[in-house]
Amino acid sequence: MKPIEIVFYVLTGITLLSAITVVTARNPIHSVLALIATFFCLSGHYILMNAQFLAAVNIIVYAGAIMVLFLFTIMFLNLRREDEESKTNLTKMAAVVVGGILMVTMLLVFRAVQLPAVNEGNFDARTGLVEQLGIMLYSDYLLPFELASVLLLVAMVGAVMLGKREAGDRHF
């Protein structure tokens, strides 16, 4: 095995392990922390694919900001006590069956798919770096890039609207 393959398999192992922990952990804090570990490992995968910028963004945005807010909220809510199970056995069975079918289908599809061979001669080391990404974003994908700002504006207006203090509310 080439060293890069060893790195890949080790990283994949950790990724899957932490992703499984997200689902199985009893404590919500442990779940979130495992999710952060998963994002971190995914960033590792991005780096293996030479998408360095994406890797850094993934850590800043997901591991550094969103997940921290998640942790923040959960810690404030203090969800330590185990809530009683509200799901019936029927729901669980249905979920297992549906999820299982989906997994089997996907496994079959991904096994059957034949990926085109990689042409190493075409490899451009600059693909995935900031420069190329910026040129792409500001030329071919300019319109969705700009309209994504409308999306962010909507989310921001909505958050302010729902969170704004009103005459009757008291906060401190």
Binding site: F53, A55, A56, I59, A63, G64, A65, V68, L129, V130
Partner: protein, 382 residues
């Protein structure tokens, strides 16, 4: 050894390191950041004593020089206490996470023209990403301790760090815009006599005064775009908050919440938290020096036949070049740390609302304006 390659498109250089320089950077920085605790704590106590008109530690060794070793010895002997109600795994893991994330930041720091852990193309960005990760460690420590003071301290700390990342990021972006690179070594090269692009006075090409040969302070980023001086002040304030230093030390405000997120820690784990705090100080001081204050370049310019810049900095690749480079960078970083300490013992602690006011309503708007100015300035530079 360095191989310089000029690409036609944007004339960026690619540095190819021999493996041993990469391997060299790791122990050097490890020694540097842990050695700095020794110097830093002694310095801090002596400076605070000077400001408060007392003597500081005097008993252990000449002028109290051995005080910190005595303290370390004490910490080593202490029992590693884990509170009974704590979340054991998180509690034990947290200090390592915090230290690892701070220390990982040194990976992209250039210490000399030839010594840099990784010359990745997204250097600064990586640094911001990895450093922002220590809030996770702080939350783990605060929550894992199962102590209300710890939790409150962690909450304050995280709110503060996440907020101040925005003005910090904006000022860093100003520099990136001027230098057109995210690689810290590339940014360093631009700020001295070994640059591969001509530098003009105040960065304005239209003035027609070529200062490439002058070097020294004239090619530093704060003079290539004078507005970056304001940016540096914002950067400095924001990094104080990032490092939880006074006057932004609300997370460990002793008078209110004991010691914040590290209340329950003792022995070597406390020492590790302490170490990462000082490593963070060193990291941001380095970063400020590299981004704004000319990195490892000398501050002395060539004035006509008086070749001060040439005399005080060797060319990259030579031993002399590396020695002078390390000297200048360390001097600048230590000067910034002295200012950090001076601020700590001069200013009182802020209130939480003042903290947030400063970040969101003062620093962030100024940062956005500076970003705009830097964009325009870059157009003047080419």
């Amino acid at each position: 050894m360095i191989i310089v390659e000029t690409r036609p498109a944007l004339s960026l250089r690619i540095y190819i390191h021999l493996p041993f320089t990469i391997l060299l950077a790791l122990p050097i920085f490890l020694a540097l950041s842990s050695g700095f605790v020794v110097v830093g704590v002694y310095l801090e106590r002596k400076i605070s004593a000077f400001i408060q008109d007392r003597l500081g530690p005097m008993e252990v060794g000449k002028w109290g020089l051995l005080q910190l070793f005595a303290d370390l010895l004490k910490l080593l002997q202490k029992e590693d206490i884990v509170p009974a109600a704590a979340d054991r795994k998180l509690f034990l893991l947290a200090p390592s996470v915090i230290f690892a994330s701070v220390f990982a930041g040194f990976a992209v720091m250039p210490l000399t023209p030839d010594l840099q852990g990784s010359a990745t193309a997204v250097g600064v960005f990586y640094l911001m990403a990895i450093v922002s990760f220590d809030v996770v460690g702080i939350l783990m420590a605060g929550w894992g301790s199962n102590n209300k003071y710890s939790l409150l301290g962690a909450m304050r700390s995280v709110a503060q760090i996440v907020s101040y990342e925005i003005p910090l990021g904006l000022t860093i972006l100003c520099v990136v815009m001027i230098c057109q690179s995210l690689n810290l070594q590339e940014i360093s090269f631009q700020q001295g006599i070994y640059t591969y692009e001509p530098n003009y006075l105040f960065g304005i090409r239209a003035l027609g005064i070529d200062v490439t040969d002058w070097g020294g302070i004239f090619s530093w980023n704060i003079l290539r775009n004078p507005f970056l001086l304001i940016a540096y002040v914002i950067f400095f304030i924001a990094t104080l908050a990032e490092a939880n230093r006074a006057p932004f030390d609300l997370p460990e405000g002793e008078s209110e919440i004991v010691a914040g997120f590290n209340t329950e820690y003792s022995g070597m784990r406390f020492a590790l938290l302490f170490l990462s705090e000082y490593a963070m100080m060193l990291l941001v001081a380095f970063l400020g020096a590299i981004l704004f204050l000319g990195s490892w370049n000398t501050p002395l310019p060539n004035i006509g036949p008086v070749r001060l810049a040439d005399w005080t900095s060797g060319s990259p690749g030579t031993v002399w070049g590396n020695l002078t480079g390390a000297f200048w960078l360390l001097t600048k970083a230590l000067a910034a740390i002295m200012v950090q300490m001076w601020v700590r013992w001069t200013l009182p602690r802020l209130r939480v609302d003042q903290l947030m006011f400063l970040c969101w309503k003062v620093l962030t708007p100024i940062g956005i304006v500076l970003l705009l100015i830097s964009g325009v300035w870059r157009l003047l530079m080419i």
